[in-house]
């Protein structure tokens, strides 16, 4: 249903516009790329339209499950974005007065951060890091060792964890030469390598090997929880910033089709590396925060592959590529986990395995796509009413079907975006 109207729109926009047949008041894609009589070199007047082309093209790509960029989304999102940053912070800050299990609350906060990190790397850039937890674990160890060996105050040690996460993220950057499933499995293997190195009895002098670390001296429940809450805000703010920026647009473009993105002037390796490093920094700080608040941990707990898997599932369930999705997904599924999962882990595993399969098969956009579906269905109703009026008004005019009307609307909305957006080339 959701697809139908837009698929029509895509067909019509995509093909006609390519030929320059739709009068959008601006040169069509084909016209922009190959004007007769030009030598093919980029000149500034043509580069102006490129971002517009990218947006327009993205708005027609809806089957990825990632929300299309359109004017209405953009207008609404101010309100929803700022509330996505503030709401979880306020909620997490108030929760301890109702529910005093700090370990669960910390996990909830950490999972929101990790899910937002996955959101940046997969939801926007399209790389699924199964081994994301490797960075988390390195952050946990780096933060703890900074407290234990360098005697840094814990708040500074958190940043140290973030730096370590970024460094290990940089080391793993060559993995981005792979894509799709290869990337996913290679990161998984990389995180297992990291775990086995940290875990190794030969390194017992540094990491205490399989016996883990204890931060009992630096333990501070209130302060660590407060930093976790702030971190949730920072992570969501980062996602919002990515979502609203040219950078995020570039990421969505390269996710849809790297070659075309490259053609549109996006520096693909640069942009995807930046996305990954943002996510790595978040995971590093999250790891350090987790270590600080949990105070005693083992390699098997901070490098546990189920952490990145949970984060992926939560983000998928809520909706990739949105600011709210990972928050909602983590809230619902982790809430469910703390009710069912702790007493009957196998039943929970069965349930969430089924949930993952259902989400991937039937609504890859997650909860966010359901919300969008209902919003769209309201729009569709309005369109249908409108088309009826048009039909009645123009007595026996040519039949107008709602599909083509929808696309006309889309053309109008796209022009709005175009005016706002056409400021220069994306990337470098």
């Amino acid at each position: 249903m959701r697809r139908f109207g837009r698929r029509v729109a895509r067909r019509e926009l995509g093909e006609q516009e390519l030929k320059g047949e739709v009068d959008t008041g601006k040169p069509g894609l084909a016209a922009g790329l190959q004007q007769p009589g030009t030598d093919g070199l980029p000149d500034s007047s043509r580069r102006r339209y490129r971002l517009g082309h990218v947006r327009r093209w993205l708005s027609t790509r809806v089957r990825t499950g990632v929300p299309a960029v359109d004017a209405k989304n953009q207008r609404l999102s101010w309100w929803s974005d700022s509330s996505a940053i503030l709401f979880p912070m306020v909620a997490l800050a108030l929760l301890p007065s109702v529910y005093s299990n700090y370990a669960l609350l910390i996990n909830l906060a950490v999972f929101i951060v990790l899910a937002q990190g996955i959101n940046v790397v997969y939801g926007f850039a399209g790389y699924l890091p199964f081994g994301y937890v490797g960075v988390f674990g390195v952050g946990a160890y780096a933060g703890s060792l900074a407290i234990l060996d360098l005697h840094l105050p814990p708040e500074v040690a958190l940043l140290f964890g973030g730096v370590a996460g970024t460094v290990i993220g940089t080391v793993l950057l060559p993995l981005f030469r792979l894509s799709g499933a290869y990337f996913a499995i290679a990161t998984l293997a990389a995180s297992l390598v990291l775990e086995n190195v940290v875990n190794n009895p030969s390194l017992i002098g540094i990491t205490n090997g399989p016996y883990g670390l204890s931060l009992a001296t630096a333990y501070d429940q209130t302060a660590s929880y407060a930093s976790a809450v702030i971190l949730v805000g920072v992570a969501t703010a980062a996602v919002v910033a990515v979502k609203r920026s040219r950078f995020g647009l570039a990421l969505r473009a390269l996710r849809s089709d790297p070659e075309s993105a490259l053609m549109a002037g996006i520096n693909v390796p640069m942009e995807r590396s930046s996305a990954w490093l943002i996510a790595a920094a978040l995971a590093g700080i999250a790891g350090a925060t987790f270590a600080w608040s949990i105070s005693v941990f083992y390699p098997s707990s901070v490098f546990n592959i189920s952490k990145s898997v949970f984060a992926i599932v939560f983000a998928f369930f809520g909706g990739m590529g949105t600011a709210w999705g990972p928050i909602v997904g983590t809230g619902i599924l982790y809430g469910l986990y703390s009710v069912v999962g702790l007493s009957a882990p196998s039943v929970f595993e069965l349930m969430y395995g089924a949930v993952i399969m259902a989400v991937v098969l039937f609504f890859p956009g997650g909860c966010a796509s359901l919300v969008r579906f209902f919003k769209d269905s309201a729009t569709r109703k309005a369109t249908r009413r409108h088309s009826k009026e048009v039909m009645q008004g123009t007595c026996n005019a040519i039949p107008v079907d709602s599909g083509s009307l929808g696309s006309a609307e889309q053309v109008a909305s796209l022009e709005v975006i175009d005016d706002k957006a056409a400021k220069g080339p994306v990337g470098k």
């Binding site: 499933a181 297992l192 395995g353």
Partner: protein, 291 residues
């Protein structure tokens, strides 16, 4: 010590080749990574345990019986569920997540049905007497299982290279579109290959206990990673690659166990990362993937 490690490595390597070949076949045919492969192996292992202790049937005899139901199951899954991804953007990553969900479901069902504790299937279930060779004593199960694995692998390869359906499979591996153009029934044969992949996993599962000892529901992902390391090493999608990769992997692991035992666990994962980055086509060439 040296020749013991070498012989054990080679014997285990044949078994590892069988373990990885199902994953390799599915990858070669459909270009998807079956994360649930290891869980199919575990499922096979648990069922063979049940059959052995419930009915007293030797795992080696139980293994062939699993083939037909496994093929049916895999065929139905591929036809009914996987085909939904056809033509969808991002199908590769989505199918990865889908298989992950499946792997969780299988693991959970195993935990509910058989419990989370590891179950051991001693090698003596296959053949009790130890084998003496050149002054060393080897567990007999190792030899028997390696022999059986080799037979299964040879039958599979022979079928793949000689039969009509196998011919179609290799055509699809070479080029899906062109195979369809010349009249290969791509949808049906792909699904069949998925079924065969599951069947190979189940057979490997029945052999798993007697060779490597205990089985537990949560080993699935680790087995998948090892199998993936093997086929990356061999060369993704190349049917013979799994055997070559298995042999190399196993011998290297055995030597690491002898000379630097604490690092032995890192080997499979380091292999994946290094080979993927340095020689993405695998060690015996034939580039099949575009990454």
């Amino acid at each position: 010590m040296l020749e013991y490690a070498l012989v054990t490595g080679i014997l285990l390597g044949v078994f590892y080749g069988l373990l990885a070949s199902g994953l390799n076949l599915v990858f070669g045919m459909q270009r998807i990574v079956n994360i649930a492969h290891g869980d199919f192996v575990m499922l096979g292992a648990f069922l063979s345990w049940e059959v052995y202790y419930g009915l007293g049937v030797n795992p080696l005899i139980a293994a062939p019986l699993a083939i037909v139901p496994a093929i049916a199951l895999g065929y139905a899954w591929s036809r009914g569920v996987l085909s939904r991804f056809n033509g969808r953007q991002d199908a590769e990553t989505l199918s990865l997540v889908l298989f992950f969900g499946l792997s969780q479901v299988i693991e959970a069902i195993e935990s509910l049905e058989f419990g989370t504790n590891p179950r051991s299937i001693p090698g003596s279930t296959v053949l009790a007497a130890p084998i003496h060779l050149a002054g060393r004593t080897y567990p007999a199960a190792l030899w028997v299982v390696a022999g059986c694995s080799l037979v299964v692998l040879l039958v599979f390869l022979l079928w793949l290279y000689k039969s009509r359906v196998g011919f179609g499979m290799r055509a699809i591996m070479a080029d899906r579109l062109e195979a369809a153009v010349v009249g290969v029934n791509v949808a049906r044969i792909s699904s069949l290959s998925f079924g065969i992949g599951v069947a190979l996993a189940a057979v490997a599962g029945a052999f798993y206990g007697p060779v490597l000892g205990a089985v537990a529901p949560n080993q699935g992902l680790a087995i998948t990673t090892i199998a993936f390391a093997i086929i990356v090493l061999g060369s993704l999608g190349n049917p013979v690659g799994a055997l070559v990769g298995g042999l190399i992997f196993s011998v290297v692991t055995q030597f690491t166990f002898v000379y630097a035992s604490s690092w032995a666990n890192v080997i499979p994962y380091a292999i994946v990362v290094v080979v993927m980055l340095l020689r993405p086509a695998g060690l015996i060439g034939r580039r099949v993937r575009n990454a």
